[in-house]
């Protein structure tokens, strides 16, 4: 099983690189995951991460990309700019959430 080293702590990841335990997540972990994706986190990234985490905590499911954009005060295009190619998957991974299986 792959691991991630952050601030001297070893964090367990799934085979696909998602956090095994959300309790391991903090902002430094998010930065480290983002770095692996080649993303430098900006204010808008954090906004999306927060919306995604709240939504997931509330419903145990992922929003559609459209809903995520709306709730983050962004456009769908912005999500593709922030998290290139696979916006929902990359955002979920950096937010410490499981791999989304949403199809919207």
């Amino acid at each position: 099983m792959p691991n991630l080293e952050v601030n001297g702590k070893t964090i367990a990841l799934t085979d696909e690189g998602y956090l095994e335990n959300f309790e391991d997540w903090d902002k430094d972990v998010a930065e480290a995951l983002a770095k692996e994706e080649g993303i430098e986190l900006t204010e808008n990234h954090w906004k999306v991460i927060e919306v995604l985490q709240n939504k997931y905590k509330e419903k145990r499911e992922f929003p559609t990309l459209r809903r995520l954009a709306k709730d983050s005060g962004l456009k769908t295009k912005d999500l593709y700019d922030l998290f290139p190619k696979k916006p929902l998957k990359k955002a979920a991974r950096i937010a410490g959430l499981p791999k989304p299986s949403s199809c919207g």
Partner: protein
Amino acid sequence: MDNTEVKKLAIIISKNSIEDVYAGLIMANGAVMEGIETIVFFTFFGLDAITKKTMNNLKVDNYKAFLERMPLNGEMPENAQDFVTEQVKNMLDQMDIAPVDEFLEMIQAGGGKIYGCKLAVEMFNLKKEDLYDELDGIISVGEMYEMVGGAQIIYI
């Protein structure tokens, strides 16, 4: 990387019912969200989904199949097709699924391309200005195949 991974996909939509058009749009958007290079080619009646006048007024075709799957309160209304169409549109809205025009924008926001079939556009006597403004082009079948290259093709 898994060498069976789909890298490029073309979805051809030739029908104009909500169920057919949305099946295509949802698959296209799902592909774009996976980073797959995606082309959607609208032909024949599928052109209704990229024609300004009709794109947001598509109807359910197989309303009987929907009625078998949806709870119906009270009597079957006189115009069942319109009734079911309204129900389905509300359901899509509740599921955060965009109307057709916005759906096309979302696919393009992720880098997907939307094309109309030249032959069908001519056959139905449509003008460029009748069609969705952000269309990536009106192209021949030959041009579509060139663009598709070695992509997987889904026909609806």
